[in-house]
């Protein structure tokens, strides 16, 4: 019984780690993308704003866990 619980716990932890990895890869890819946009297309600002907003949303949703604010007194993990 305890072993099964530990297994479930490990699976959940692994899934949470994986989300962190996927978000990180997207953030780095977007950052490199905006670097090239800034270097090549000088003065082209709207794609840079769009990328910044996407990055901010990802961090706020998946790293800052904004949804916990609305979870009340329930478990956060």
């Amino acid at each position: 019984m305890e072993a099964q619980e530990n297994n479930e716990q490990n699976e959940k932890k692994k899934a949470a780690y994986n989300i962190g990895v996927v978000v990180f890869i997207i953030l780095v890819a977007l950052t490199i993308g905006e670097y090239f946009i800034g270097s090549i297309a000088v003065g082209w600002t709207w794609p840079l704003w769009l990328i910044a907003i996407i990055k901010a949303v990802l961090i706020i949703r998946d790293y800052m866990h904004v949804n916990r604010l609305f979870a009340g007194n329930e478990e956060s993990h």
């Binding site: 950052t31 490199i32 905006e34 800034g38 910044a52 604010l69 009340g72 007194n73």
Partner: protein, 191 residues
């Protein structure tokens, strides 16, 4: 109701309240950063300072990596993995210090202007300085949390300070997500 359950519910209630307070603080702080961002576009318009592009990219990636490890540290604590939490926090602290060295220690020294030269210089030093101060306070916060973690103060059920430190750290990252393109990428470079 058993005393243990009562304590646990109390802790959850307090955490919910603390969480709301932290987010309210961050929103008010975001207005200050928003004001700086508006000042940058009002004063500089379609030009930007001539800065070291590669250094800007490197410090940005360093901050993103630190956010990744902070997230990993918090997740570890949430699942009772103290060792993972300590390792992740320590790496985050080191990367935070590296970011500070990159911006304050290097970029400030090689920038082609001094703070009092013109509006562009003032905007640059105010934005990066105010952000760097937040990074510094974040590092101090993380050192305290790391020290407490080593003492075994946090558990899987009770680790609000870890969550608070993580949310604060990610907030610093969100601010840089907007400051980086505003200072390094948007507009025509002017020396």
């Amino acid at each position: 109701m058993a005393p243990h359950t009562d304590t646990k519910n109390n802790y959850r209630y307090k955490t919910g309240t603390n969480r709301m307070g932290l987010w309210l603080f961050l929103i008010s702080d975001a207005f200050v950063f928003g004001g700086l961002l508006v000042a940058r576009f009002y004063l500089l318009g379609g030009v930007r300072p001539e800065l070291n592009q590669l250094l800007g990219l490197v410090v940005t990636i360093v901050l993103l990596i630190s956010s990744f490890f902070m997230n990993r540290a918090e997740t570890s604590m949430a699942y009772g993995d103290t060792k993972g939490f300590l390792n992740g926090t320590l790496i985050t602290i080191i990367l935070g210090v590296l970011f500070l060295i990159g911006v304050v220690g290097i970029e400030w020294q090689i920038a082609p202007f001094s703070p009092s030269d013109n509006a562009m210089a003032s905007v640059f030093y105010t934005m990066t300085g105010f952000h760097a101060f937040h990074v510094l306070t974040g590092v101090i916060f993380l050192i305290i949390v790391y020290r407490n973690g080593r003492k075994g103060i946090y558990t899987q059920e009770k680790h609000w300070p870890v969550e608070a430190a993580a949310v604060y750290w990610h907030f610093i990252d969100v601010v840089w997500v907007f400051f980086y393109p505003a200072l390094y990428l948007m507009g025509v470079p002017v020396g």
